[in-house]
Amino acid sequence: MEKVKIGTIWLDACSGCHMSMLDMDERLLELSERIEMVYGPLVDYKTIPENVDVFLVSGSVSTDKEMDYVKKIRENTKIVASFGDCAVTGNLPSMRNPVGTRDILQEVYSQEGNPCSQLPGMSEDTPLPRLLKRARPVHEVIEVDQFIQGCPPHADLIHLIVSELLEGRTPRRGIRTMFG
């Protein structure tokens, strides 16, 4: 049987979703026989690969670079899943939204007593990714086929949904999990 190609990525997030993925423990071994990891924090691959079957996107879309990533992911992937609450609702990264980009950078980087006077990503020629006006849930930017809730999602839930996706099913609304 041909292996199902899976990619994972973490955008504006804390890495907790990926830690929770590791909590699948020995079930990972079972899964590894059926999947091929083509992209992810532990895969040394620089660009979003083509012809991916399932992509788990964790984190909200907060910078121009992340915007490019998710668009590319959508182009190259059959089933895109919002993975964890930052991807599903915007969650903690979106706490900056009511405040505004400049104000939040100012607050964090140039408080009194802080020697750093520059606001990262604000100048024209910066090599750094620039913050978008708002941190956004993934489905506001690209079409999303599956939502995996939780901060972080429970390992059992990840296992359940990934197993369904491997069978080619997108179990929307069939699974009860806490929202938000």
């Binding site: 609702t89 903690l92 979106s94 009511p98 849930p137 938000g180």
Partner: protein
């Protein structure tokens, strides 16, 4: 044919109750003419999701989560604020009402800033529970992200307007059971807020008796006890109906 609100109940001169029979989801049920669709449904183990209504408080039909279809009525009607009537045919689970309820819950999430992961009520929140019950897996509307404040001027209690769903339970419990009427509403539309006294700081309120009932009835983490950590605040509302009966007997 459809009578709204249970005003009758407050009438001190009790007229004789009349029994009415009706159908809910095809089931023949009955109740008295003082009962709402919601009450009769609950007596018959038919569950209808609710948010603003709470046993022991008056019904004001603020949230519309309990909408049901009633044959012959053009609009959907709030089960908590509609009295039963003879021959009524009520449906509580049609695709139309289920979709409306989902939309309402999604709009509640979209219009304020509910950062559940860092909320004192995470996991014990009635809004989260509704979303789960209704199968909400993402919010289809763009989030508004309004700039809202937190009033932490009271020594022990606080209000975070980011989490308020405007159910007015706090307003009702403070008025109807505590008799203080510290809470009220101000402004309208998207600017609607709950306020203490005449929009003064809670900590400086002359009327607040510090009883804490408002915190207990608040369905989200909007009203909280200071010092509670994430997910730590569990609220208790069971005391309300008893308190109501006791007050009435006095």
């Amino acid at each position: 044919m459809v009578a709204h609100l249970n005003r009758k109940r407050r009438d001190p001169v009790r007229t004789r109750r009349k029994v009415k029979t009706l159908k809910i989801n095809g089931l023949d049920v009955s109740g008295t003419d003082e009962q709402t669709i919601l009450e009769v449904a609950r007596e018959n183990d038919i569950s209808i999701p609710t948010l603003c209504t709470l046993e022991g408080l008056s019904n004001i039909g603020a949230c519309r989560i309990c909408l049901v279809e009633v044959e012959g009525a053009r609009r959907l009607l709030p089960a908590c604020a509609t009295l039963i009537d003879e021959g009524m045919v009520v449906k509580t689970k049609t695709p139309r009402v289920v979709e409306y309820r989902r939309k309402l819950v999604e709009l509640l999430f979209a219009e304020k800033n509910h950062y559940c992961a860092v909320c004192v009520s995470n996991g014990h929140c009635e809004l989260q529970q509704l979303a789960e019950d209704l199968g909400v897996d993402h919010i289809r509307y763009p989030y508004v992200y309004p700039e809202l404040n937190v009033d932490a001027t009271h020594a022990e209690l606080g209000v975070d307007h980011n989490r308020c769903v405007l159910c007015q339970r706090c307003v009702r419990v403070c008025d109807e059971l505590e008799g203080a009427h510290t809470w009220d509403m101000m402004d309208r539309g998207e600017n609607t807020r709950v306020v203490t006294d005449m929009h003064q700081n809670w900590g400086e309120s002359k009327t607040c008796t510090e009883c804490g009932k408002c915190v207990q009835v608040c369905p989200t983490g909007a009203l909280f006890k200071k010092g509670s950590a994430v997910g730590e605040l569990e609220k208790e509302t069971e005391f309300l109906p008893y308190l109501k009966v006791m007050r009435e007997e006095q």
